[in-house]
Symmetry: C2
Subunit: 371 residues, 2 copies
């Protein structure tokens, strides 16, 4: 990559601004340190070694993953204290057992008693125990035992009483922050999720369960933490290292905090349709957001007058939001820069990320894929 600049890259290409990645990571580490809460960053957005090193401040400890492919990828590269924060899939118990036996600390997550039975059927060797987080649904409405149901406390108790298993923590995802607009709404959801989680910890104490940690997370809530979050053991955001248009609209960040771009080139002029074609289709950007931004499927950097109206597999159609396009501004072969709606979805489409510092390509990062 020596000597390459952004302009030399073959398109489409996923481009990361190293300084912004580092700044986003540093700010989150500082924010958590100031708050006195352990940051356990989520790897699902990027799935690379290099970005994990930045997010963990080089410790290579204390991360969350969304797939076992990620867990193995990081375990193979010296990482430990890995939380597989996904409702235990019954077909993957053996792989989880092997990771538990191999690492100092591998955590699984569950939200039902049948999953616990699966763990009991596979006792760990080498004197190891299963480290289990119970997922609590604090009104997010995806995985987790609803916090208001007696089943929640009952399951926590069952986990803590099971031989060979430790109730390591209570885990909540405040994905409902994604419906927020602005800091005030984000903080309200963060506060509520924290309050519900801490109340649950109190209920556990009341029945004699003192040990478990507590963790909540989402990029919006951890970008604007409320003081009460100091009473949690951990937080687990992930997207913040890249941010994206969606996060800027929620209010997690400003648009200048977004570290990720997709570079594309103009491949066609079609004046009879008042339209450019570019070499970025959904294989390079994803269909996330459904084109519902005022500027379509992405923001086109430096060109608020343009809209990415539609994409096919390898083509993108760019049109002016109103009026006639001045084609002379966009010669064939010239580069346009898309700021993606959702960094996780866009990153998932790329086998390699190009990393730049002030326009100079300084590294390439290769994500893991699959499950």
């Amino acid at each position: 990559m020596a000597g390459l600049t952004m302009a030399d890259l073959s398109t489409p290409a996923l481009l990361l601004d190293l300084e912004i990645v580092q700044r986003n990571a540093r700010l989150m580490l500082d924010r958590c340190q100031k708050l006195g809460v352990q940051l356990r960053p989520h790897m699902k957005t990027h799935k690379t070694l290099e970005c994990a090193d930045i997010m963990t401040g080089g410790s290579r400890r204390c991360i969350v993953v969304s797939t076992l492919a990620e867990a193995s990828f990081y375990a193979d590269r010296g990482y430990d204290d890995i939380l597989y924060a996904y409702p235990l899939p019954f077909d993957k118990v053996e792989r989880c057992a092997q990771l538990s036996e191999r690492l100092s600390l591998f955590h699984v997550l569950l939200d039902n008693s049948l999953a616990l039975q699966q763990l009991k059927k596979r006792p760990l060797s080498h004197g190891k125990i299963w480290h289990v987080w119970m997922k609590l649904d604090c009104d997010n409405g995806r995985a987790g035992v609803p916090h208001s149901e007696p089943a929640a406390l009952k399951l926590a108790q069952e986990i803590s009483e099971t031989a060979g298993v430790e109730l390591t923590g209570i885990y909540a995802h405040c994905g409902n922050t994604y419906g927020c607009k602005g800091e005030e709404q984000i903080k309200a959801v963060a506060q509520q999720t924290t309050a519900i989680t801490l109340q649950f910890m109190e209920k556990l104490k009341a029945i004699g369960i003192q040990g478990p940690k507590s963790s909540i997370g989402s990029t919006p809530s951890c970008s604007h933490p409320v003081p009460e979050m100091a009473m949690l053991s951990e937080v687990h955001p992930g997207n913040y290292v890249f941010y994206d248009v969606q996060q800027s609209l929620i209010g997690s960040c400003k648009l200048e905090d977004v570290a990720v771009r997709v570079l594309t080139r103009v491949i066609g002029h079609y004046p009879h349709r008042n339209q450019l074609l570019v070499d970025c289709g959904w294989t390079a950007l994803s269909l996330d957001g459904g084109g519902r931004l005022p500027t379509g499927y992405a923001i086109i950097e430096g060109h608020p007058e343009l809209k990415l109206t539609s994409m096919t597999q390898e083509h993108g159609r760019v049109e002016p939001i109103s009026g006639e396009l001045d084609f002379s501004q966009f010669p064939l072969g010239s580069v346009l820069t898309f700021i993606p709606h959702h960094a996780c979805a866009t990153a998932a489409m790329h086998p390699v990320y190009y990393v730049h510092s002030k326009g100079k390509i300084v590294d390439t990062w290769k994500p893991t894929r699959g499950w």
Copy 2:
């Protein structure tokens, strides 16, 4: 993979029915042979060696690709006569030149004079010439010179008169068949695209240009060819080897002709929301179709009463279309089978495809990625 069955696969998994793949490929080869037109199958849907071998009947010749990554992948594996059917990107001229110099026959495509200038600036060595297809827009409205504009004939003439360059063919994509419902509408578009293309070939003859081939393509039109297509040199469909829900709705195929599935497992029961969670999110299915099917983002095989209502990165939410879900029918860990809306988009999410014959896993195919 010896001895594995579908039930043994870790989920989510992309599953292909080998017999259906072979039947779809065979039917298209037969259809083209009967019509007397050369089939040049498109690789963009699967991007694997094994499926290309099936589609070319083992010849390893005469294919279309959508990216240079595909072109190199196939060239490295003994393929030749490769058409890179994408408006020549100016940043990829050197790579195209190297493929042209290395293969017996590598074709590029263009729709403007500036692209032709790029080729002139890079004469080929070893006595080779550039093989150029001109893209003609036959009312599809993506790339191509509009057939009704005098610029079309002018560009064709310019290509044919350029030293070191051969006007090898005229290429049209009838992507407007994707707006059709049923065989009659498909045939009308196929007929119109064919007629426009053949008229253009006549205009070329009238100015003394006799050599170029003609090619149109799209899975709908080539699944229901009209007799006039016999007068073309080639056709270039691709999706037909897998087909998908979208193609069945257009009328290209029946649902039983769809070769591709995504296997997923139930990971959670949420009776208070009348909802199952499954381990297939948009990383395994893509967001193609926008959830607008009556059954949401996919058809759930054998369960017309269910709907895949939404997905996040690794979770899918399944609900009954109406009434109360009988959770006992869908135990935790049990498998559901999704028929994808768009096979190209779903296949693009998987690093490996599992190939079965009557439920027994017989092979794994690994696609190429990137650009």
